[in-house]
């Protein structure tokens, strides 16, 4: 008998391990992974062991396969929870966040500061600048917040109704926790203590030319402020630097946009010239800074006062703009390390 075999025998003997997935002991052979292990003929004989037991303790691949199969089985039998907005946390964590993580860590080399300004519990309204032709900044922000925040909070994004018109995209948006940007949904999320992410510039921000980069657009009617005031939710401004350069929009073919019923039709250095290759975002350097929260609890009665709403929206806008400038000073080269 070899070491691991004995170990397992003991494990079964004293009944310590009911679950087959045993973590390797310090004396386990290090090379035993991915099938490249020395032959151990006695393992192949149908013994008293349960067939569900993966071959050996510490076999990383067995464990991964078993976990993946359990995940698939749970998904295929519908054994998961979805909230009333259609948010599927399990799918988001297992599929969407790993993809985004790869993107923002490896490709965009994102640096995050001030994440402690986001409340660890209870409602919060995260307000950011929007840019980049494709609203990748919103997705990256939600993944960054989930990974970097101590409470691993989910950011519930509010999206334009265009997002929910398009098949497939609408369902990905709902499953990752987004919903239509409207007062009832925003207030419902805030009242249930969720962290809501909103980009008040909307298409004016995402669809602006490269020449106008890092110039905040108008903040609409300040609807996000009214929602925060009505629920007494703190507003956390966030500045995102880097998304402007991923798809630098040189021109906007308006007739084509009208024809396709899109808010704009972008022309970038790579799109549409390189076809699908033009969809690859340029590897800019990203900096994300969360600013100190703006409390609103003392203003709950002023939600309908346009002066208060506009002033607060202006304050948030100014904070984001100033933070953008200071972040840009820290990053002289958009495509630097």
């Amino acid at each position: 008998m070899t070491g691991p075999g004995e170990e397992r025998g003991r494990a079964h003997g004293d009944g310590r391990y009911d679950v087959p997935l045993i973590v390797a002991g310090p004396d386990a052979e290090p090379a035993r992974r991915n099938g490249h292990r020395p032959a151990e003929p006695h393992r192949l004989e149908p013994g008293p062991r349960d067939p569900a037991v993966p071959d050996g303790p510490g076999d990383v691949w067995d464990r991964r396969v078993a976990t993946a199969l359990a995940f698939l089985r749970r998904r295929l039998s519908g054994d998961y929870q979805v909230d009333e907005f259609g948010f599927d946390p399990e799918l988001t964590e297992a599929v969407f966040h790993p993809l985004l993580r790869r993107l923002y860590r490896g490709w965009f080399r994102t640096e995050v500061t001030g994440v402690e300004h986001v409340p660890a519990e209870g409602a919060g309204l995260v307000v950011g600048n929007h840019s980049g032709t494709v609203a990748l900044d919103a997705l990256v922000l939600s993944a960054v917040l989930h990974d970097h925040h101590s409470a691993h909070r989910y950011l519930r994004l509010l999206g334009a109704d265009l997002v929910f018109r398009v098949p497939v995209m609408s369902e990905i948006a709902r499953k990752t926790g987004a919903t239509v940007a409207c007062h009832p949904d925003a207030e419902r999320l805030l009242r249930s203590g969720e962290l809501v992410g909103v980009f008040p510039e909307g298409f004016k921000g995402v669809g602006k030319r490269y020449a106008d980069r890092y110039k905040l657009q108008r903040f609409g009617r300040g609807g996000f402020v009214a929602a925060a005031l009505r629920t007494g939710t703190p507003i956390v401004p966030v500045a995102i630097v880097g998304a402007e350069e991923i798809y630098p929009m040189l021109a906007d073919i308006k007739p084509l946009a009208r024809l396709l019923k899109l808010p704009y039709f972008p022309v970038t250095p790579t799109f549409p010239w390189l076809g699908p290759l033009g969809l690859v975002p340029l590897p800019s350097k990203w900096l994300i800074e969360f600013c100190p929260p703006v409390p609103t609890a003392h203003l709950t009665d002023s939600a309908d006062d346009p002066l208060v709403v506009f002033n607060l929206a202006d304050q948030v806008r100014e904070t984001i703009q100033q933070t953008l400038y200071s972040l840009l000073e820290r990053r002289p080269d958009p495509f630097g390390p």
Binding site: P38, G78, V82, E84, P167
Partner: protein, 357 residues
Amino acid sequence: MTPGGTPGAPGVVVVTGVGRYLGAHVAARLAADPRIERVLGVDPAPPNPEFAGLLGRVERVRIDLGSLGGFLADLDVDAVVHLALVTAPDPQQGGRAAMKEQNVIGTMQLLAACQRAPRLRKLIVRSSTAAYGASFRDPAVFTEETEPREVPRGGFGRDILDIEGYVRGFRRRRPDVVATVLRFAPFIGSTANTTLTRYFAQPIVPTVFGRDPRLQFVHIDDALEVLHRSVVEEHPGTYNVAGPGVLTLSQAIRRAGRVGVPVLEPGLSGAAALARSLGFGRYGLDQVDLFVHGRVVDTTALEREYGFTPRSTAAAFDDFIRAHAGGAVVTRERLEVASQAILDGIRQVRAAVREPR
């Protein structure tokens, strides 16, 4: 309160639509309640034989809703429960025209009769969450105050909007009558037989490509409970009646062990129209809209007012699955076997790789 009934509970109750599942069960349930003296079941057609057994203690009246006027006044009716709605056109019974006649004109006539019934003090009208319409700008969760943003494409949704409009008019003209409008989510349960239960009972179910709507159901027994309480208690207003929680369509299909086949939306609308004109299947634009947009309602008003929480959407759906387990294609057991086979396969491959050494 009026003599003949205990305060709250009415003496004479008229239930419309007793020839169908919901009406028959509500009438039977009310007849079994000792607080209620008489239950009159109104339906122009003879009841479906499978419900006839339920209606033993219900006095059946075979008149149509148009000639109800004198009848309500003569019998000193205290409460009217209006359930005679058709949710989908039935080609055998006149199709969409007959459906609209029954839903809209029938309700108009009933409300006209109710307006002239001096002793009437309670009106309960069955409505549907289809009242919220379907639009891409809709909020995710509808409360009772949400106004529909677009008039629904489906016939049933349009009928519901008309019916609720007439009830609003009735409320203005007879403020002394307690009017309750119940917006039910689609019914489901082990015995209910509706368009949606027939849909989920098939082994292969069509879905809309790229859409995974959020659905809510209400268990038919909970719907009966809410209707019963509406009759014996007083709950003026409009209430959403749905099981808390949400199932997405794909999740529901997987839980039921069915196989979903995505179809492009224009194709599905066309197929629905074709199936309807060929006389099989009763799917209409109502169903297509539901499967594109989904529909989730807030039930806190119901829970607060009635002190009753329907069983959750997932639990109601589980009850339906148990009764229809026969048609399942993908079951938990088969998935278990398949994943076991994969694990064993990997083990064997590895053993084979190891063998030559």
